[in-house]
Symmetry: C2
Subunit: 319 residues, 2 copies
């Protein structure tokens, strides 16, 4: 039995058992690849599909390395058009065609990307064998709802137009309590009403409270990807109370001035954002190529926000 | 002492001792990356500089992995605009800027590439800190002479416009024989004439043959990169008698029909080209992602042309 298959089943089981989203890191480095770290890309996985967020150069090779099912990628979100966040996209689109993909692919990105991709396909005389749809971001707020995931985007504070994305599981309907509906003889035809929260009134006119017959479904989880950004509290409303956020920490704390100049953040700035937004967990990445060892990133950020993890390539973080 | 430094010194010494060119393979796979093989890219090294030929996605990561001095890359040659031959170029150009490069970079490529690169730099608001020059290929034949290397291009037979490149060391001037010029009292002012092949006539009118005073310089080496191509004997005049050629072998011999349909070559076709062109050594690559193990490529090609080597990533082949 192939290890790749086992790994993918294991990932599926973990996501299933926990009724959660998972995020797998494919690249955690800033602009220039270094120390075997790759430019930004990550995969948000549900049981049914993979959402790819950013697609730096080499992403398709990382997808193979970490046994991510490419055919399950239905949507690709690009935060902004600095190359370390999208130079791998055209190669992936091209490879999908060579691999004989037939299902639709959706690209959600700032406008000029469509022109860039289409130009490159044209000069290569490439005709895709699957439908490719561009959704150009021209506003913040709700983007789309896919399965039970509501996806929104929000502006971050970067040198060029840049967007973060939030992935929110829609709250499930209330769950029927089988013992109680049986005891009160609730007809099956009323179950949908119960799941919507209505009380049940029997044939004698007796009302039975919804809470007696159903239990609340588990809360939907939220993950927010904050892209590239300098410290900016205007992000807070968009990520408040999230179960996990990814916030960049290009620099350690002693480079705060350079971080601001270059529209990036430091460890402690990311920690402060996570703390003020009252999120449950913080994932940090986009490390500058200045740094070989990453331990100080974790130490410094945890001084401000203890529930922090380094975004390590190949690791799937459950949300 | 760092291993990287030792490796680079070793490479330099090998090139120096042998007065040769060397070619290091960075990617030997065809379109879709597979089995840890990368898309096409290779480095032609002289003691003074590196020429990069093709630049598939991930080339900048391969350059780091195999300790190739990026700052020594002065010219990049792109054979054609299928993505597996150039999708890594914009990332490399971008990284050069982030690394603070100041020396000129020359790109030699089919015309539409300039538009693609400039569009991507523009949307990212990237201003390069070094001069970038495009030399658009609009004809075959002599391209340029750099140091003692004469570089030409020739058309190959592919689905879109595609060029091969030949790198030829210009024959060096004849070498002065120190013992003989001393014995015949040849004045130093005449040395340049001797190196050009002229005889020496002393003050008494006695003529001394050039061959008596000089020795012939070693023959210049030639390397030819045949890009992507189907079997086509019109390549022969451009690569005849080369010391080494690289010819693609996308497929094994039993896929000859598919190779022709897709404008690619098989093992035996590459062997026949090498044999007919009377080259000294054949390097084969651009292996289809169908093949995990490459042994049969070597066996089949050697049946036709014994002096064949597999182009293996990370290996420097001396010419």
């Amino acid at each position: 039995m192939k290890i790749s298959w086992l790994l993918s089943v294991q990932r599926g089981l973990r996501l299933g058992e926990n009724k959660m989203l998972g995020v797998t890191i494919l690249g955690n480095n800033s602009a220039v690849p270094a120390f075997d770290r790759h430019p930004t890309s990550q995969v948000i996985s549900t049981l049914r599909r993979n959402f790819l967020v950013d697609c730096g150069e080499g992403t398709q090779i990382q997808l193979i390395k970490y046994k991510i099912r490419r055919s399950k990628i239905s949507h690709i979100f690009i935060s902004h058009l600095h190359g370390d966040h999208y130079f791998g996209l055209v190669g992936l689109i091209n490879s999908f065609a060579l691999l004989g993909r037939i299902q639709e692919l959706h690209i959600i990105a700032p406008a000029p990307l469509q022109q860039i991709i289409e130009l490159q396909l044209k000069v290569a005389d490439t005709r895709l064998c699957y439908p490719l749809h561009f959704h150009l971001i021209n506003n913040t707020g709700h983007l789309m709802t896919i399965d039970d995931i509501e996806i929104s985007c929000f502006k971050t504070n970067h040198r060029i137009e840049c967007y973060g994305f939030s992935f929110k599981q829609i709250k499930k309907p209330r769950r029927i309590n089988p013992g109680k509906v049986h005891a009160y003889n609730v007809p099956i035809s009323f179950y949908a009403d119960l799941q919507s929260g209505n009380d049940y009134v029997d044939e004698n006119g007796t009302s039975i409270k919804n809470e007696e017959l159903t239990v609340e479904a588990p809360r939907g989880k939220t993950y927010a990807f904050c892209a590239d950004t300098k410290y900016d509290e205007s992000l807070l409303p968009h990520i408040r109370d999230a179960d996990m956020i990814y916030h960049e920490t290009t620099y350690l704390d002693n480079f705060a001035e350079r971080a601001t100049q270059r529209f990036h953040s430091t460890t402690k700035q990311a920690g402060r954002i996570a703390e003020k937004a009252a999120v449950k967990k913080l994932l940090i990445g986009h490390f500058s190529s200045k740094y070989d060892v990453l331990d100080d990133f974790l130490t410094e950020t945890r001084e401000v926000f203890p529930a922090t993890e380094l975004a390590l390539e190949g690791v799937c973080y459950l949300i």
